[in-house]
């Protein structure tokens, strides 16, 4: 069977599994069946897609007599979709493995088990779809399945709100994509991708299609300012689903954008790179700043997803600009960076959500200021979480660093742009990327340090214990992957060659031939990086240092109460909390991203009550963009609603008015 047929078979099985999941949800067998099944199937897809990616041959197009009758449902696996299939199936496999254990804590499995395989099936379908109708159908199906998963814990009011905002935004995005496809399909309705490629649109239509795709895919990916649903919806779902949504679904959106903007929309126009770069950099900064401020562990991770997607889009923006300027090698570098970052993000964001899920199931708590000291109680989870946090903070020798390094490298090639606008924009975006990366490190010091280090801030945190083996295994696999992908980046880059070929028409020079497994994007004299050597050096020097110290110096250790400048306090609440940690950053950046309202209630001298600091954070984008819209709709609804309560005579008057108006039109018609 061909790759695409195998994928479709997997989808069919997943859908069957979803149906079965509805019936056997209550039993532990059901859990094992569904998650075991998704694990096996996603491994299958992983194998198939990995093969397709590495071989890189253009697969055949499979046509089923479904969907739009005269177009048919077309499916196709090319290296680009194969790469994203790898990302999605990898995240799904890990999530399934994790859920084998984590799913035990689910209070209402009937609301999770049927939708989990359906969600995965939807994502796979989007990636293999090769006509507009099938694509959008799968796209919305994916949204719908994930909506149901967000709704799983529906009794909590905020989850319902999250699900609602999510669905409305998702539908908005779908309509935008529909517009993009309508423009590309032309007046005769050529909905098949192959037909779109064969007849590229006119320049104006292509520009509009590009922008519509940016809005449509961007709203799903979580680009600012369309990101507002994401920090609500991702944390509301069960943690393994959050991981899938953040790790995999946002990548499907990235895929959609690449597919439309790079593959279908014809020849590039350099001006379009500008919104891409600006939106990407803005998402990065806004995302990470919000992540720094939030007190909810899963929401921090969700905001960080916005940040990382922003980085991916910066990479795409550079790729697009380079392609438009006719620098294939540079375009290949930027595209590889974007794709690699997408992959990396899928790995470490899933890992981090698993960790958050583990914390949640061990303590029942997501709020940072109720956690603390978990590293001593959940050592393994803590270690994996630490690896994830380090990777996402772009610390060498882990994988996150490689992709961000490559993005910065592509910034360095940007003086060669012929356009002034891009020349000035490029270093600004580069600085933005650097700022984002640095803030991300601060963010994950906080996100890891506050819950896992220090002393427990609540009883729940004090009583926490290590989680089950399945969860740990899933985290271990991903943590290992973070390390491996960081140590051998050259192999990853080479695997991406076929995909970048498809997107920008070029690929990076082969890296496996480089000595010592290092990578050099353009030439070794220009820049190079060797993850393996850096890793080995760090390991060597750390062991050397510790060996020498332990050999020649005192090995004695005494446990004692903390010194703390001689101010021994017993209460864990005197520790730095998440809010106090981010206070300096809030003071510096506060005005940009959020509306901060600090209210200090200071007692007069002599009063004994404690002083209080109240802090309220508002999202500036929500306030300026969404609230007016909501208010306008409400107001219009109220105004129009009067029409429900007219008397019959007044209704007749309306009919009469319509008649007279039409007659007048008719009488005055030229």
């Amino acid at each position: 069977m061909t790759a695409v047929a195998l994928c479709l078979a997997a989808v069919a099985t997943l859908l069957a599994l979803a149906l079965a999941g509805g019936f056997v949800a209550a039993t532990s067998f059901g859990r094992a069946l569904v998650y075991g099944g998704t694990l096996a199937l996603s491994l299958l897809v992983l194998l198939v897609a990995g093969d397709a990616l590495l071989v890189g041959a253009a697969g055949e197009t499979l046509m089923l007599p479904l969907g739009l009758p005269w177009v048919g449902a077309r499916f196709h696996v090319d290296p680009l979709s194969a790469f994203f299939l790898v990302v999605v199936s990898l995240a799904a496999a890990a999530a399934s493995l994790y859920a084998l254990g984590y799913g035990r804590h689910e209070r209402d499995p009937g609301r999770v088990l049927p939708f989990f395989p359906a969600f995965l099936a939807g994502m796979i379908l989007v990636l293999v779809a090769a006509d507009a109708y099938t694509f959008l159908l799968s796209w919305e199906f994916m949204s719908l399945a994930s909506w149901a998963l967000v709704m799983a814990h529906h009794r909590e009011e905020q989850n319902a709100r999250a699900a609602y905002v999510y669905l409305v935004m998702a539908s908005f995005g779908t309509l935008a994509l529909l517009v993009a496809f309508a423009l590309l399909a032309g007046p005769d309705g050529h909905y098949a991708f192959a037909a779109m490629r064969a007849a590229p649109p006119a320049a104006g239509a292509a520009t509009l299609a590009f922008l519509a795709a940016l809005v449509g895919a961007g709203s799903k990916a979580g680009l600012a300012p369309l990101h507002v649903w994401l920090p609500l919806a991702h944390p509301a779902a069960p943690s393994h689903v959050s991981a899938m949504m953040s790790g995999a679904m946002t990548k499907v959106a990235v895929y959609a954008f690449i597919r439309i903007a790079f593959d279908l929309a014809g020849s590039p126009d350099w001006r379009l790179a500008i919104p891409l770069l600006i939106v990407g950099a803005a998402s990065g900064i806004i995302g990470v700043l919000q992540a720094l401020m939030d007190n909810d562990l899963k929401r921090v991770l969700a905001y960080s997803t916005i940040e990382n997607i922003g980085l991916v889009f910066v990479g795409l923006g550079f790729a697009y600009a380079f392609r438009a300027a006719g620098f294939p090698a540079a375009a290949a570098l930027a595209m590889t960076a974007a794709l690699l970052h997408a992959f990396n993000h899928a790995v470490f964001k899933s890992l981090l959500f698993f960790g958050a899920g583990a914390v949640l199931s061990a303590t029942g708590e997501r709020r940072l200021d109720k956690l603390g000291g978990l590293l001593n109680r959940m050592p393994a989870t803590g270690l994996f979480m630490l690896v994830g946090a380090a990777a996402i903070s772009a610390l060498p020798p882990l994988n996150g660093f490689v992709s961000e390094w490559m993005i910065l490298q592509s910034v360095l090639l940007s003086p060669s742009f012929p356009q002034w606008t891009l020349k000035i924009l490029a270093p600004a975006v580069g600085a933005g990327v650097a700022l984002t990366a640095a803030l991300a490190a601060a963010c994950f010091v906080r996100a890891f340090g506050i819950p896992f280090l220090g002393r427990p801030r609540s009883e729940a945190a004090e009583r926490a214990g290590e989680v089950d083996r399945f969860s740990l295994a899933a985290m271990a696999v991903l943590a290992a992957l973070c390390l491996v992908a960081g140590l051998f980046p050259g192999q990853a880059i080479d695997a991406l060659a076929a995909a970048t070929d498809l997107a920008v028409g070029a690929h990076m020079p082969s890296q496996s031939s480089m000595p010592w497994l290092s990578i050099a994007p353009v030439a070794a004299s220009r820049s190079s990086y060797n993850g393996l050597l850096v890793g080995v050096f760090i390991l060597m020097s750390a062991t050397t240092a510790s060996t020498i110290i332990h050999r020649f110096a005192s090995g004695a250790v005494r446990r004692a109460p903390a010194w703390d400048c001689g101010f021994p306090d017993s209460s864990p609440s005197t520790q730095y909390s998440g809010e106090s940690f981010s206070q300096p950053i809030r003071r510096v950046f506060g005005r940009i991203a959020f509306v901060v309202e600090e209210r200090i209630d200071m007692p007069r001298p002599g009063e004994t009550r404690p002083a209080r600091l109240e802090l309220r954070l508002g999202d500036r984008i929500w306030n300026t963009l969404y609230r007016p819209l909501i208010v306008a709709v409400e107001r219009a609804a109220v105004q129009l609603n009067r029409l429900q309560f007219l008397t019959i005579r007044q209704y007749l008057g309306v009919v009469f008015g319509a008649l007279v108006a039409l007659l007048v039109v008719l009488a005055t018609w030229p």
Binding site: L66, L68, L137, S138, F141, R155, F172, V633, N641, A658
Partner: protein, 481 residues
């Protein structure tokens, strides 16, 4: 005699006879069974029309356009009768209706089917007008059947607005006759579809224009287009639920069918006003207006009635845009809307029965207390707001994408309306289907089968349309231009 003429006779005679019989039959169980049987017979007869259609004569015409409507009508009429059989029994238990009322109800039900079938197969535009008037009057009586103050008010409003609409339609019909008379000659032939469409190119175009204005407003009142819609929400909300389903699923289509027929005439005349812009405007106004109205609804049936206005707007918009793609989409959307909306009303009727209220605020947590009903509501709302993989998605996909090519701003407005409606419906649906359940938890009594069968059809249509159906629709779409 061949089989086919029999089929049309069956379509008319069976409901009429059943209606007479039901008027005198005392046992409501037997009545319900007879009702179902008659509706089923009509459905079979309609289905046979696909195989062999009779040649048109002075009274009856079966062509590609109306056979789609007839089959859809009889099918929904049949499932609604099945639903009604189990639903209405419960109304007796709760004492909302007495035995006499039920006799009346069943007789009227079959009479309504008769009138609608007649309207659809009539070759004479006068006959069609009479049939639609009969159907309207019948539904007026059924809407007022509970005799509560609200029900009587709704029926009265429906009656007055419907009568004015009917008067306008008649004026338009007369105008059509006057346009045809100099060309075709006096008498009956000047009122027959078959001759009208044949000679349409020679008609006086200004008379046709004027006629169309009246017909659009007259029959448009029945379609429920804003601003002529006022009767519709109340009639849906206050009548018995099977009738709400029939109203949304069938009667609106019948009126739409009439509008389409006359649009064909105008399309056939090169000098006449293009009906498209008019229909597009009315369609857009209806869609956007109804979408806003959805936000403030507190009564669940009234809310879905507004959703019907919205969808009728979309359909009229599609036909107004024209072209093979949009026409195809319009037909598909009409079929999908009929199936989905009637199924939603089946669900809503049961929900209102088990919860004892139609107030949205008093219904919560249905997926917990009544999983089947709750998830059906979820499914129905998703289907009706145009989310895949349900059929409405396909038609909306085609409508928006094909309209975008011709009139981008109009298509965007339509898309905005659809999105607004989605926002409102999903918001209310989430409130009703999720959260902690409140109120009675007694299981539903009515049959879920009609609802589920509709949903199954809608689901299948989203991913797969049978090729013969597609060919049929495409042919009609070509016909409509």
């Amino acid at each position: 005699m061949s089989l086919a003429p029999d089929a049309t006779v069956v379509l008319l005679a069976v409901p009429l006879a059943a209606s007479a019989l039901l008027a005198v039959l005392p046992s409501y169980r037997l009545s319900a069974a007879l009702n179902v049987a008659a509706a089923f017979a009509a459905f079979l007869a309609a289905a046979s029309l696909f195989v062999a259609a009779p040649r048109p004569n002075a009274y009856i015409v079966i062509d590609d356009l109306n056979v789609v409507f007839i089959v859809l009508n009889t099918f929904v009429g049949f499932t609604a009768s099945v639903f009604s059989a189990t639903y209405i029994a419960h109304e007796i238990d709760t004492g909302r209706l007495g035995a006499t009322h039920l006799r009346f109800y069943h007789a009227m039900y079959q009479f309504l089917l008769f009138a609608m079938n007649l309207a659809l197969i009539a070759n004479n535009i006068g006959l069609m007008w009479v049939a639609i008037e009969l159907a309207t009057l019948t539904t007026v009586l059924m809407v007022g059947i509970y005799r509560t103050q609200a029900a009587i008010e709704a029926a009265w409003k429906y009656f007055i607005l419907g009568s004015v609409g009917i008067a306008l339609a008649l004026f338009g019909t007369i105008l059509i006759y006057m346009a045809a008379q100099p060309v075709v000659g006096e008498g009956v032939p000047a009122m027959l579809w078959t001759t009208l469409i044949e000679h349409a190119p020679q008609f006086d175009e200004t008379l046709l224009d004027l006629a169309f204005v009246f017909l659009l407003l007259g029959y448009g009142t029945k379609v429920g287009l804003a601003p002529l819609h006022a009767w519709l929400p109340d009639a849906h909300a206050e009548g018995p639920t099977p009738i709400s389903a029939v109203l949304s699923g069938l009667l609106l289509n019948v009126a739409l069918y009439a509008v389409l027929r006359f649009k064909l005439l105008l399309d056939g005349n090169a000098r006449a006003l293009a009906p498209g812009p008019l229909m597009v405007t009315l369609g857009l106004v209806s869609t956007v207006f109804a979408a806003f109205m959805l936000y403030r609804r507190r009564d669940v049936k009234r809310m879905f009635a507004y959703s019907s206005i919205e969808h009728m707007g979309i359909i009229v918009f599609a036909f107004g845009v024209g072209g093979p793609l949009a026409n195809f989409a319009g037909l598909l959307h009409m079929a999908m809307h009929s199936l989905t909306k009637s199924a939603i009303f089946y669900a809503v009727g049961q929900i209102a029965q088990v919860k004892g209220t139609q107030q949205i605020a008093e219904i919560r947590g249905l997926t917990v207390s009544h999983p089947l009903l709750g998830w059906s509501l979820v499914f129905g709302v998703f289907a009706i707001v145009g989310l895949p993989p349900m059929g409405v998605f396909m038609s909306e996909f085609l409508i928006v994408s094909s309209a975008f090519e011709r009139a981008p701003w109009l298509a965007l407005t339509l898309a905005a309306g659809v999105l607004l409606a989605l926002g409102a419906l999903v918001l209310r649906m989430q409130g009703m289907a999720f959260g902690a359940p409140v109120g009675p938890t007694a299981p539903a009594k009515a049959s879920a089968l009609p609802m589920l069968s509709h949903f199954a059809l809608v689901l299948i249509a989203g991913v797969w349309l049978p090729p013969p159906l597609v060919a049929w629709f495409q042919h009609v779409a070509q016909l409509l231009r």
